[in-house]
């Protein structure tokens, strides 16, 4: 009778099996003293730390012994591969899977291929690839949109960017809906505020519509009209596509702007990557560190006031900020057009058919791999207890 059942009739979790995970980042070490060099590596390290440490401290760092978490590292090949085995004595109960095989440095193309071939059970997928992956029959898990892609004007170095009318003209020329519909293939949503609707409840108060006529009118009043340079991260194909789209929109409004790839030369742990001095405006990707609007807004305010808004008098942001305070803070910043939210991106994961009880993590949450179990289609191991 079991053989005739559909694949997803399992209810109670089963123990056993090896979960194959593929990531793009390459980590040299899990040693806390060794700093990572890219945001991708930092994110990957955080995910692995979440599996091998018992808990996180209030400041977000992991503490205690490696191996005190649900898994312990048994094999580590720097930058290539790791094996994590289930910790039978984990405080919150042994994970369901016996082990995790983690492969690092896998390209997007290879991750998608391995998911299709069932060589991988879990892999991150760029949001712009989510729709095509789903249409090819891949099992896709999409988070709430929690990563902001925004334009940030370089008011420190660029005289043009210091003119509010320049910033406003560029902001009002951008067709966010086109970015969402064509570049992101509808995986994401237009951003008007610094927080998404699901987090703040008030994002709808910040318009996301384009107004090319107004942009054209504003630009025509600027004399002499500057030639702007829009910088994007050279290794980020999504940023490149969005930058090129912004250039098209801006030119339709008569704005002279070119897109230019820039290297990520920011110092480690810098709040906003440094901008080449000739770049007038750059793209910024910021992932919410918390689903709570107050905490998330405080984080991006720290980034902005340490970077593009340095020196700007900030409105006090009380610890007990109300939804009205949160709205007012965003309004005060966005009215300056120094930061122009573009789109909200979700985190997208590809899953193999046998992965069960995967819950897409919210901001600040780790991959719930201790809760995941593998449905192998047989009852072997179903009642195995730790």
């Amino acid at each position: 009778m079991l053989a005739a059942l559909p694949a997803r009739t399992a209810r109670r979790p089963r123990y056993g099996g090896t979960l194959h995970v593929e990531i793009s980042a390459t980590l040299a070490s899990l040693d806390p003293a060794v700093e990572v060099s890219t945001p991708e590596e930092a994110a990957a390290k955080s995910q692995i730390d979440g599996l091998i440490y018992d808990h996180r401290d209030a400041d977000g760092t992991f503490s205690g012994e490696q191996g005190s978490g649900p898994f312990r590292v048994t094999t580590w090949e720097p930058g290539k591969h790791a094996t994590l085995e289930a910790n039978d004595n984990f405080r919150e109960g042994r994970p369901f899977v016996d082990s995790i095989e983690l492969t690092m440095g896998v390209s997007t193309h290879d991750r998608l291929l391995d998911l299709q071939l069932n060589k991988a059970d879990l892999a991150e997928i760029p949001p712009q690839e989510a729709r095509s992956a789903s249409e090819r029959g891949m099992r896709v898990s999409i988070s709430k949109p929690d990563e902001l892609l925004a334009l940030v004007f370089n008011t420190a170095d660029s005289a043009a960017s210091r003119k509010a009318s320049v910033r406003q003209a560029v902001a009002q020329s951008i067709d966010r809906a086109a970015v969402v519909n064509f570049i992101l293939q509808k995986t994401g949503e237009s951003a008007g505020g610094l927080l998404p609707q699901w987090s703040s409840g008030t994002a709808f108060l910040f318009p996301t519509t384009t107004d090319p006529a107004r942009a054209k009118e504003l630009w025509s009043q600027i004399s002499p009209a500057p030639k702007l340079v829009l910088g994007y991260h050279s290794a980020d194909p999504l940023e490149q596509s969005v930058a090129e789209r912004i250039v098209v929109n801006a030119k339709e409004a008569g704005i002279s702007i070119t897109a230019e790839a820039i290297q990520n030369s920011a110092p480690k742990n810098a709040p906003v990557r440094s901008q080449a001095s000739h770049v007038d405006v750059t793209l910024l990707r910021w992932r919410m560190p918390s689903p709570h609007p107050k905490d998330a807004l405080r984080d991006i305010l720290l980034l902005l006031y340490a970077g593009p808004l340095a020196g700007v008098n900030s409105t006090p942001f009380p610890d007990s900020a109300s939804p009205q305070d949160i709205y007012n803070q965003q309004r005060a910043i966005l009215d300056k057009f120094t930061v122009v939210p573009l789109v909200w991106l979700p985190q997208v994961y590809g899953l193999s058919a046998r992965v069960r009880d995967w819950t897409v993590p919210s901001p600040a949450e780790q991959w719930p791999l201790a809760d995941v179990w593998l449905d192998t289609g047989t009852d072997a191991g179903a009642d195995k207890q730790p």
Partner: protein, 365 residues
Amino acid sequence: MRPSRRLHLQFQAVLLAICFVVCPRAVLAQNSAQLPPQWNDAVGQLADKIAADVSPLHPLSLEAKNMSSLSPTEATSVRSALESELKNRSFRIAPADSAAATAQSATPVQFTLAESAEDYVLVAEIESTSEPDSRPQIAIVSAPKVTPGIADQQSNEFLSLDKRLIWQQPGKFLDFALLAGPPEFYSILAILEPERLVAYRSSDSQWKMRKAVAIPHSKPWPRDLQGTISVENKIVSLPGVQCIGDVLDLDKISCAPPRVLNGARTTVDIPGRERSLNVELFARCGSGSVVLASGTGDWTQPDSIQGYVHAEADRPATASGTPMDLDGPVTALWAESRENAARAIVRNLKTGNYEGYIVTATCSH
């Protein structure tokens, strides 16, 4: 992840502690003007903010939009309450888009009921009649998230199922027992959590914690931990641990390794639901016993409970009546001492809370 979740849970716990008893009753009230006290406060604050921005000399034309997960009925209740509050502040409400509103140069107010990660958010966008092109004034207040719900109306083809929410909390719990203890009816509620057994006493229409006892265990619990309270046998059972004593008197309860190993649960063969949770009740319907079974998704999906009639021991049970939908997976299902009821623990995927229900199966002939 975990600290953040804990903070969130603590926040929810405070809200739940405030409104566990009061809110559901108030939200369930059919009278649209009745709201939970916290909602009345929020609506009153929003009316105050509107009154601070607009003179009551002109009427308001109020348009409402619901972007939250509240039902249209509940949203209408909130709007009605706002209208009442505004009238209490000497405002006249002109019907939106009406000729009267235009003729009386009413101030347009767009009222939006939205939802953040933490609260419901009530927003008023107040247009200026003197400067139509100016940006509207924005007034925002929040109201605590109270899960509204209306008891499912099930068809009574054969078995009809009804559920009653007894308890909800952010933290996981495995079972509960509602006890009649003199002098009040149902005055004690015992909640079995993974690490402790907690007794609450009903006082002034609220549950107040009375006592908690830790449950000792030498090894970490299994990840799919199950545990149950048997009031009749005075035993609380978890893997490798039995706590013996009356849950009405936690001072006298003692926990130790079981003298007899816990027996495996007896489950009924239900085609298509072999690995679901199911429980056979003491009640009968026609010639068979009544069985309740959870659905076929995993723990990340909404669930349902379906009633079955199990006529013969060596034959599968057959579905009877329509399933009762739930907002999250059933993590435990136990037979109640009442013959036609079961206790179900559900993890509500919308709120993140664990909820304890008494599910009653009624056989219609």
